[in-house]
Symmetry: C2
Subunit: 264 residues, 2 copies
Amino acid sequence: MLTIGEFSRLTHLSVRTLRRYHGAALLEPAVVDETTGYRYYGVDQIPTAQVIHRLRELDVPLSDVQRILRTPDPGVRAALVAEHLQRLEDALDRTRAAVVSLRRLLRPDPAPIDVELRAEPARTVAAVEAVVGHRDIETWYAGAMAELEAAVVGDVTGPPGGSYDNALFEQERGHALVYLPSAAPPRTGRVHPVSLPAAELAVTTHVGEHDGIEVTYGELGTWVVENAMSVAGPVREVYVVGPRDTSDPAAWRTEIGWPVFRVT
Amino acid sequence: MLTIGEFSRLTHLSVRTLRRYHGAALLEPAVVDETTGYRYYGVDQIPTAQVIHRLRELDVPLSDVQRILRTPDPGVRAALVAEHLQRLEDALDRTRAAVVSLRRLLRPDPAPIDVELRAEPARTVAAVEAVVGHRDIETWYAGAMAELEAAVVGDVTGPPGGSYDNALFEQERGHALVYLPSAAPPRTGRVHPVSLPAAELAVTTHVGEHDGIEVTYGELGTWVVENAMSVAGPVREVYVVGPRDTSDPAAWRTEIGWPVFRVT
DNA sequence: CTGAACGTTCCCCCCAGGGGAGAGTCCACG
DNA sequence: CGTGGACTCTCCCCTGGGGGGAACGTTCAG
C-alpha cells in the first residue's frame, strides 16, 4: 500500500489532483482508512493513473475520462480515444484557420472589398436543419451535406448553401440550415423541402479555403455600415466552388450574403 | 455608431464577451452614454475586435492580447504574436508526446522492464540550476544546455544529465539542475560547479524520443515498490545518447535514476 | 403611447485545479 | 515511551473566460 504522497511521486500526479480524482470517483484509492480518512493506493493503480494523466494532457474532460476507464471492451475504448484524437485534429484545423486569419488581419494593405447588393427571391430547396452548438457545426455540416447529396442525387440545380443564425458564430447555439437546390426537393430522413424567404442581401465572395473567412465577414460588415445599412437575420453562404467541385482549396469561392435593411 | 448587438453581429463576438472585454479594458466602446450606460462602437473597431477574437482562438490570455494590442510598432507586435505561435507549437509537441504515451499505455503486452540498482558516488559537475515551473522546463533546458556546452567546450567527460524535483512533474514548480560532466567545471554566467550527492538509484533506460517516457517512469515506480523499496529525492536523468549524438530520436537512450531506500 | 426588442448590472455556475488554514496522524529517533 | 517533523485530512476561496438568468431601464416604430 502506498500513501498518497508516494503514489504522487510514482505517477507524477499532484496530491491535490489525486484527491480530486478520488472525489470525482475517477481513481478510487484501494483502501481508505475509515477512522483517519487516509488514502492508500496499490501499485496496480499506477497504469490507470497514467492513462488518466495522458488523457488529461489531451484535454479530455474528466467525465469522458471516466467513461473511457469504465469501458471494459478494449476495442470500444480505443474507439472512444480515437474520437477524442479526432476532436484534437479538428481543434488543430481551427487553430490553423485562426493563424491564417490573424496574418491577413495584421497585413498592412487591405484590398478593397467588392460587394453587390442583391434582391434574392424566395425559393424552395432540399434542406437539412437543426439547432446546433457552434463547436459541432463542422461535424454536423459534413453529415447533413452527405445526406443531402444522397437524397437529391441527379437533381441538383445549383451549388449548395447554408443559412446560419448569427448566434452560431459566437459562443452559443443556434439554428443552422444547409441545402442543395433541387427541382423537386425530396423528403427523406432529415432532408425536407424548405422555402428560403426573399431577402435583400449584401453579397461578397470569399476566395480560397474557409480559413480567414471571418476577416471577409468583418470587411462586409464594415461595408454594410458605411453604406448606411444594418444587418438582420441569419447569414447565408453559397459554396459556389467548393470541395464538391475541386480539391484545390485555393480555387474555392464562397458567397457570403448578409440580409440588410436601409437605415436613416 | 453601433449598438452592442449590432457590433456583436458584425464581429461574431457575443454581447457578453464584448461587455467583458470592455470591463477588462481590452476593447473600449467608442462612446458610452453617461446616463444610460449604453455602449456604442465604431466601425473602425471591427478589425480590433477581430484580432482579439483570433488571438483568443489561439488561447492567448486576455492580458497578453492587451499587451499585443497596446504595442504600436508592427514589428514588435509581430514578434509577440510569433512568440505565442511558438508556444502553440510546443503545446502541439506535448500533445504528440501524450498520444504516443497513451498508445503505449493501452497496448496489451507490456514488455518486462530491466532495472539496475546502482550505488552512485558523489561527483562534481558543471551545472546550471533554477527553480522553474513545469511548463517552462523545456525552454529552460534548451537555454541552460546551450550555455553549458559553450562553457565547458572541449572538456566534456560524459553525457549530460539532469536532476529534477518530483514537484516538477506535477503541476507545480520546483528545483531543476542540468549538468555536463567536466574535469574542471568552470564558473561562467549561470554555469557553476555542483557536487551531486551520492545516492542509491534504481536505474532503467528509456529508448527512443522522450515521448512516452512517463510510461517508463511508471514501470520503474512499480518495480521499486514491488522490490520493497520507496523513492526519495529528486529524479536523475542521463542523456546517454541524445540530440547531441544523433539526430535519429529512435536511437536516443535516456537513463532514469530514482533515488530509493529499502523499506520493510 | 405602448410593447417588443434591446440594453444595463448583478449574481451564480462551469471546469480542473492551486493556495493556504487549521487540525489530525504517522513514524523514526532519542 | 514521548516527541517532533513530515505527512495527511477537510474546508474555503481563487483563477480565467465565459454562460444562464433575474430584475430592471431604454429605444423606437407602429
